[in-house]
């Protein structure tokens, strides 16, 4: 049945269907509805909801729950996302599956709670210190918020990694019709387990492959978890060969599987002279503009990125193959544009940036499309 659902509600519904049974968070606009719905719904399915004292503790609790064997998530916005960076790094280092939702609002600092922005694109990739891979997904509709939440859990379990769901205020607060409950159950990935007996189990053993299974605490398997670089048993190590092989493995487990989690929508790129690349709410304005331009016989292609990190270089390069210009609208001063510029070679890249707490309009993107005609 089609229901009118809000983007944040869709995230909560998606999380429950994906098997999430633990949420810890600290409410913050424009993400709070995710907490509201999960506070109401999680106990009904045997899950737990915890309001924590702050965002640092929130992600700490989520990581604890995940090591206890439960799919877990938290949700926040810019100021809280900044506080969570410490534990995002811990999750990457200890390889603990978790989903962190950031419904972006205008920043920096407390910025403007109810105004949309896409200013955390680089923070989602590089906010925590040290070299680490991370998967960042970005929806542009209520339905996509639902679907990508489920995928975020799946990727997080499959690759034993934190996954960031990077939303924006427009998508979080917007309401659209969505089939709920869905007529077909979504594909859900469960955590990998090992049949190894406890005395032979090592939580970071490459013998298992690039993604060693993480066996929940409390099942008789005793092992160490730390934010320090560690050997296969989880205990700290200073040995360069062990550090090097850990780094190589965690990058390899993500890089080698890009095709699995690189999600995008590509339209009208055959023989396109101009390519518009967009993501999140801005993709809605961009597609509107592209359709109008095409109705006026401009050869414009459209590429919507739903996976922002690792940056889908090959997808962008291929979509831009016939274009002489690439336009990238963003509700920031130009963040993903840096990546686009890096991969499209000598093609002209036109940025459309807006940071005033309002959405980029189709008219502003049309101006850019018309601006460089020829």
């Amino acid at each position: 049945m089609l229901k009118l659902v809000q983007g944040n509600e869709a995230v909560a519904y998606g999380a429950i269907l994906a098997g999430c049974r633990f949420y810890a968070g600290y409410p913050i606009t424009p993400s709070s509805e995710i907490a509201h719905v999960l506070a109401r719904e999680l106990p009904k399915v045997g899950g737990k909801f915890l309001q924590m004292e702050d965002e640092i503790a929130s992600l700490g609790a989520v990581l604890g729950a995940s090591v206890g064997g439960v799919k877990a998530m938290t949700a926040t916005s810019g100021p809280g996302f900044s506080l969570m960076q410490e534990h995002i790094g811990y999750a990457a280092m200890a390889e603990i599956p978790c989903v962190v939702v950031n419904v972006q609002r205008l920043g920096p600092s407390t910025g403007q709670p109810t105004s949309p922005a896409q200013g955390d694109v680089m923070q989602a990739r590089w906010g925590t210190h040290g070299d680490h891979p991370i998967i960042v997904l970005c929806p542009s509709s209520v339905k996509e918020a639902f679907d990508l939440t489920i995928k975020a859990f799946n990727f997080s379990e499959k690759y034993r990694t934190p996954v960031i769901l990077l939303m924006d205020e427009v998508v979080g607060h917007m309401r659209e019709p969505m089939e709920y409950p869905p007529s077909q159950p979504p594909e859900v990935v469960e955590r990998i387990h090992a049949s190894t007996p406890p005395e032979w189990y090592y939580p970071y053993d490459e013998e298992f492959g690039d993604v060693p299974p993480i066996i929940p605490f409390g099942m008789g398997y005793r092992y160490h978890i730390t934010g320090l670089h560690h050997d296969r048993s989880g205990f700290p190590t200073l040995r360069p060969d062990e550090i090097k092989s850990w780094v190589a493995r965690v990058f390899r487990k993500i890089e080698a599987n890009r095709a699995d989690f690189t999600l995008y929508q590509e339209e009208w790129t055959d023989r396109a002279k101009v390519l518009v690349v967009a993501y999140g709410a801005t993709a809605r304005a961009a597609r509107h503009a592209v359709k109008i331009a095409r109705a006026h016989r401009y050869k414009v292609g459209f590429l919507k990125l739903m996976t922002l990190w690792p940056f889908p270089e090959e997808v962008v390069e291929r979509a831009a193959r016939t274009a002489t210009r690439v336009i990238i609208p963003e509700m920031n001063m130009g963040q993903l544009a840096l990546e686009v510029e890096r991969v499209v070679g000598r093609r002209k890249v036109q940025r459309v940036n807006k940071v005033d707490g309002t959405m980029i309009t189709p008219g502003e993107i049309l101006n850019a499309i018309e601006g460089g005609r020829g």
């Binding site: 009118l4 109810t114 607060h173 309401r175 659209e176 019709p177 709410a281 597609r287 509107h288 359709k291």
Partner: protein, 186 residues
Amino acid sequence: MERFEIKLAGEGGQGLVLAGIILAEAAVRDRKNVAQTQSYGPEARGGASSSEVVISDGEIDYPKVIQADVLLAMSQEACDKFYYEVKKDGLFIVDSVHVRRVPTSEAIQVPITALAEEATGKRVTASILALGLIVGLTGIVSEEAIKEAVRARVPRGTEEVNIKALEAGLAKGKELASLRKKGREK
């Protein structure tokens, strides 16, 4: 129907975000596509607040109002700020209780808050009466759907009073629609 864009604008606390949600819910019940968004400040009451609803039979890419087919202004500030966003043949409705100066003679001036108080004894039902007014004037969603949507979305226990406000708005809207039709025929 391509795109039909409605903007409900006024102050926080007037119930305009809820009114937008109800209108969007009615559109879903009529099996139309819809996107509802809102804009408001951090305060619970006061401050500018607006709700936007885009209804279409087809896909909706841009979810916000580009040029309004209907603009409802429930405060002077909203009137002054948004009237230029109305389409050439669009409907520009103001609550004459709150809007004293209208920028154009095309504005449809209705004492919405006073009508609500008269119909239900509660000024807070003005936004629901305004919904009735818009549906009565435009027929953008069916009466059945808007009634179901009001019942489904208003706080429990206030269904009847809100339906009363809605019906008063629908009657006023239909009356104005037939007057406007006669006006055009002359």
